[in-house]
Subunit: 329 residues, 2 copies
């Protein structure tokens, strides 16, 4: 009998899909399998793709996957895992639509594995689930893992940061609100794709974006973020985009920035897991404590600040709990 | 000498602005002032406005503020606080653009207070800062507090949930990706505004949205989510939107759902504050522990799961720390 970890190492897609489903639920046995697979990880190139809704990210991700499968920029063909993350779907299966489009484009290719993830309802939960799925795909031997996020909020940025290389997707001629978004999101871009570049104003938008990106000079690690025009629906510019991703990957390795990124990536993930566990541990044996405190705050008997202090102080007396001292001011 | 809390109660806008700035930084003295002001809170009607970028939320919020100032639906004039939250701007002042537009529209009205908040860099931090700002405005006597979020991700949903009444803004004729977003975000709507209703397809979009919303029948509390067509830039439909918000507010009070919402609101905020404090307490006296663990995970010596267990187990030996027992499996 093969263990689940062995099945995944041997390329069993069914076992991989089942593991990811269990990881989404943070199943303890599945997390043990993931821990067992950890030595096999660290080989995949992890690429985050983020940008506002309507920029054509899904189509671009599909086109990029096809390009990587062929062997981008004269390199050998790669296997590709895709994780489509939808933080805006806390309750329903909003990611399903994207799934169907994707299935149609990439169906029948054994070298591609596609997975959608909706929110776990709690801030940070989706981020942990995405990290777990990336590690599962990495350990299963996928050369490239593409993490696509719907939307462009803080969550998406957080998730995109789990990647080695981040592609930010923009389009020409979007409104002021989009312009405002750029400010924050541009700072996480390693490669900028100006998609729908057949629309009017693409050239001037590309120039403006490149000028904005160049404003601060090259990054500390010497990388200059390139702006690449793409028309994902027609496959235009996608080969160049794939080449830019591979070039960034080379750059990371040559400049020793790879190790730094890998460390930061892992540190963020550890912190998120730690946060969740601290809360989980706190809750144990204190059922109803938070609800009771909320009632007192609602009645204006205590302020939220006092309630939190009381809940933390109370920890020492609750069954199975003890809290770090030295916080009372 | 008046204390900061008294100044704010007495309507000193400068003191209010300074307090909110300090609250954004989670300044301990500012948090004590907020605790002191807590008995004065609970009077404001808190309205969340969320929706995808490009739906014209800022313009709609401004128009709604003007309507509330006039005294919507034949009611007395209200003072309005506006908090514009931009989770997608973790580093730069992306919200500044919206600010300028807003200032132009509402400048010179003493009954309006406007504030932008960018992300605090950490998941949950912005949510706490927004809650603090809402409470400050509430204690300063503002009748209505409008929380506007850029974007439509999980963070925005989380922030919108801090409100008593949530307006979700949609527009006719957006692409598939937006349609997919709706699934999740519709479930938090109390009132749906179909803005830019002068665009083609507005009537059929409104009907489709109303049909989607009616699919599950009325809410448990008896509320039927209305779809209202607006053209915010021309002020059209805004009076009806304001009236719907007030109607929802009445409904909450009549159906006793108000208390439930207030409880849930407070409970979520307490939990967020507790989470942050647990992590903060854990960090104390353990500087470098997380970074060291990340290094071992990067070297594939231990898995992230093992690293987290080790970090939690180590708590018992670290200076000033003790952890809840009984977790080792």
């Amino acid at each position: 009998m093969t263990t689940p970890a062995e099945s995944i190492r041997l390329g069993d897609r069914g076992a991989l899909a089942r593991l990811i489903t269990l990881l989404e639920e943070e199943d303890p046995a599945a997390l043990r399998v993931l821990a067992e697979l950890h030595p096999q990880t660290g080989r995949a190139l992890i690429v985050g793709v983020t940008g506002a809704p309507g920029t054509g990210k899904s189509t671009l991700v599909n086109a990029l996957a096809r390009e990587m499968r062929k062997g981008a920029a004269g390199t050998p063909a790669r296997t590709v895992g895709i994780i489509a993350v939808d933080p805006s779907s806390p309750f329903s299966g909003g990611a399903l639509l994207g799934d169907r489009i994707r299935m149609r484009d990439l169906a029948g290719d054994e070298g591609v594995f596609i997975r959608s993830m909706a929110s776990r309802g709690e801030l940070g939960g989706l981020s942990r689930a995405t990290d777990s799925a990336v590690r599962a795909l990495d350990s299963a031997g996928f050369d490239v893992v593409l993490i696509e996020t719907v939307g462009a909020g803080q969550d998406e940025i957080e998730i995109a940061r789990q990647a080695h290389t981040v592609i930010v997707v923009e389009t020409p001629g979007l409104g002021d609100e989009i312009q405002a978004i750029k400010a924050g999101i541009l700072e996480i871009a390693d490669v900028l794709a100006l998609n729908k570049a057949d629309l009017a104003g693409a050239d001037s938008a590309a120039n403006a974006l490149q000028a904005m990106l160049d404003l601060g000079g090259p990054r500390a690690d010497g990388w200059r973020v390139p702006v690449l025009k793409t028309v994902a629906s027609a496959g235009e510019g996608v080969a160049d985009l794939a080449a830019a991703v591979l070039r960034h990957n080379d750059h990371l390795h040559r400049s020793a920035a790879w190790e730094q990124r890998e460390r930061t990536r892992i540190e963020r993930n550890l912190e998120q897991r730690l946060r969740a566990r601290l809360m989980e541990d706190w809750r144990r044996g204190r059922s109803g404590a938070l609800e009771q405190a909320a009632g007192r705050v609602a009645a204006r008997e205590v302020s939220p600040e006092e309630a939190v202090e009381a809940l933390l102080a109370d920890a020492a007396f609750a069954p199975g709990g003890a809290k770090p001292k030295g916080r009372k001011k």
